[in-house]
Amino acid sequence: MFAVQFRRDWLSLRRAKDEAINPLVFLFLAATLFAIAFGGEPRRLAGLAPAIIWVLVLLANLLSLEALFRRDFEDGTLEQLLLLAEPPFAAVLGKVAVQWCMSGVAMTVLAPVVALLLNLPLAVLPALMLGLLLGTPALSLIGAVGAALTVGLRGGGVLLALLLLPLYLPVLVFGVSATLDTMAGVGAAAQFYWLAAISAMALTLAPFATTAALRISVEQS
């Protein structure tokens, strides 16, 4: 079921490329603005770069999450998924996996460009990318729960941000500190383990919570 849903959503994604690329464009544009705003002080920018990149990744992820279930909710595909998929949480996981490929993985790949814009030392780049790769699954998985709860609401975007940003804080804190510690020459293994642990926990719990939240949203429609 996971593979079937993954293939189906991947196909939809390829048909609606512009929508999928928007969050990445946001990440790039916002980073450019920071680079211009700090134009005179590139050295200070380097110290702030990890925090800026992680905050932008968080926000870009929120942008792409809003659309995660919207279309399926509106055309009724979601009802069919809940009724016919066996088991539904596997299909939900397939949808989240596609969203992660287009947010987490794509942003990890884009990270070197953004890092270059923000004057981040090249030696820290591996730590930044590893942190993103380990931390973004948690963002997508936890985010899916929020997206499922707000999919039936008009103007659920702000509510989604209010709901999710507090839950994103641990990932933000460990992600930024992993990069900063690597920059300072201290090992950051502990933070990477934490990011991996958060993602693993989200992977075991979030699909079930998302499925339950989707049921609630479909019942209210």
């Binding site: 939809s12 279309r71 399926d72 509106e74 009724g76 595909t77 016919l84």
Partner: protein
């Protein structure tokens, strides 16, 4: 279903509703707008749980107001995932509803009636004993309406059960049920 009652938005939709359908049974639910036909079907499908009474329903296909057809995907791509349910092929189901020539166009470019037909084609996949149809005739032409009647007749002929909410009549022998508060 026995003693089924449902209140929505503070308004009593229906109460004391009883209905039993055996193998091969077909029932048309009639009632005014807002009388709770759609809610009744969603309860039977397990998509609405705020009711009192008892419901026992076999594994079902549900065709609601929304067809469950993704506009970005072609009809064939829409149906392919449901082949996993077991029986039937997406291609044959499409041919049955007369859309074999439209299989590769994005469903968003199809007319309302054609999209409805894609939704109908899904019923043919997976061999579910119970079909819950909410206004299946909407947007369909004369040909399409005959198609629905034939599908329902052959499903009931094979021992399946159909519960259908409609303002028109399907045209096959069916028990008529009226929903009243």
């Amino acid at each position: 279903m026995t003693g089924l009652a449902c209140t929505r938005g503070g308004r009593r939709l229906f109460g004391g509703f009883d209905l039993t359908l055996g193998a091969g049974g077909c029932a048309e639910v009639h009632g005014a707008n807002g009388s709770g036909k759609s809610t009744l079907l969603r309860i039977a499908a397990g998509l609405f749980s705020d009711y009192s009474g008892e419901v026992e329903a076999a594994p079902c296909h549900y065709l609601g107001h929304r067809n469950g057809v993704s506009a970005l995907l072609s009809p064939l791509e829409n149906l392919r995932p449901y082949e996993r349910l077991g029986t039937g092929s997406a291609w044959e189901a499409l041919a049955r509803v007369g859309l074999q020539d439209e299989w590769e166009n994005p469903s968003g470019q199809l007319s309302q009636g054609q999209q409805r037909r894609v939704g109908l084609a899904r019923l043919l996949l997976g061999d579910k004993p119970l079909w819950l149809l909410d206004e299946p005739l909407t947007a369909l032409d004369t040909d399409g309406r005959r198609l629905v009647r034939e599908l329902v007749e052959s499903h009931c002929g094979g021992g399946g059960v159909v519960l259908c909410a409609t303002h028109q009549t399907l045209g096959c022998s069916a028990t008529e049920v009226h929903l009243e508060p």
